[in-house]
Assembly symmetry: C2
Amino acid sequence: MQQPNKYTYKIAARELDFARRPTLAAIIDHVLTAAGDDADRNGFGVRNLEGNNWSWVLSRFCMDIIEYPAAYSELEVTTWVSEIGRLMTTRNFTVTDGNGKPLLSAISNWAMIDMTTRKAVDLSAKPEYADYICTLPSPTAMPARLGALTCPSATTHRVAYSDLDFNRHTNTIRYIELMADLLPLESHESLTPSRIDMNFLHESRYGDTLSVAAEIADEACFEIRNQDAVSICRTRIQFTPRKA
Amino acid sequence: MQQPNKYTYKIAARELDFARRPTLAAIIDHVLTAAGDDADRNGFGVRNLEGNNWSWVLSRFCMDIIEYPAAYSELEVTTWVSEIGRLMTTRNFTVTDGNGKPLLSAISNWAMIDMTTRKAVDLSAKPEYADYICTLPSPTAMPARLGALTCPSATTHRVAYSDLDFNRHTNTIRYIELMADLLPLESHESLTPSRIDMNFLHESRYGDTLSVAAEIADEACFEIRNQDAVSICRTRIQFTPRKA
């Protein structure tokens, strides 16, 4: 059986918010970087797939925040692929600080797309990927399926050069930033995220005009829509009061 | 004499643009991270200054691009402080890839501000900083002083949570992104930056409405203004045709 691999990152000064706490976007960025680094190491990362014009795209993501990472802390990300279905893979993560204290548990679901047709690739055509499965259980509840929001959008954003990732889609981190920007500034100081669930429903591309709707109560629900009112990304963030 | 210190970073997949080349913003982010890491190591980084409620702010920056860094490459950043004036310090950078090939030369000027009064601190009150001066010459021409643009602004951006740095200013990297977003997408594929000069004239803060003006010809000049038409940041980017 394949064993989980471990990758170490460090929260940089640039990743701190106005309250000198790492942003949720930066933390998720490190977790997703571990996914890419591990796929590269196993030979099925985007660098290896380029010849085939295939790439991985994130479909669902969730993360439990056991203890919110501190400024400048090390993140030791342990990651393993637990399942490869016909259209979707499941990659898991546990994150500790430099002293082994549990900080985060996360699960991601990925599809492989053909960059030319923009359609999903049938993963049963890649039986060799099964060698990379590690049968450890996922560390938390699967990403929730989130419903549409009914409220109107609060802000708009036109997708520009700096928003694009190497798949020519708006990158995941920018979606998180656009949603975090709708939370009142006081919430970023008084609350700590305890869980985030994200559903990626459609890609968005250069020149699209995105709008962001938010329903903020005990938990915050967001929906990013495009100019045709198609739902692009839905996200729910749950909170606990922030520790002093 | 103090010797230069070296810091190694790696271009991550997340830092690649739609053409799978590192963004200029990501490259400058690594250079500025070295500045912060080196200041921390020498005991005058923002982590040490917090007790005094002082912080470093970037005033001018320039960078020559000798060879544009490749995707996933290592950046070995050598940095040293060559001058400490009453109100400004000069920090220099040379950057090579993992094989010692020269990629970048950069110079930055920093002021120290009191976060409460938002005024510059007189650095002659910190004579012990002189111990950190390394008398090596700066590796390129000093940052140019850039004039105001006369053209109207092309886009606006309201400063939100995700734009703020730990000084509660809009962060430098976001300014670079806002400007890069005004270049035609084709330019990002056909041109390579050869030199960037940046002047930071005023801070911008949460809720400010920034607008970005651009004059794009053989070189690209940008000015970011706030809602009161105050010039916040001026930047010039020079280019060479991109190598195949």
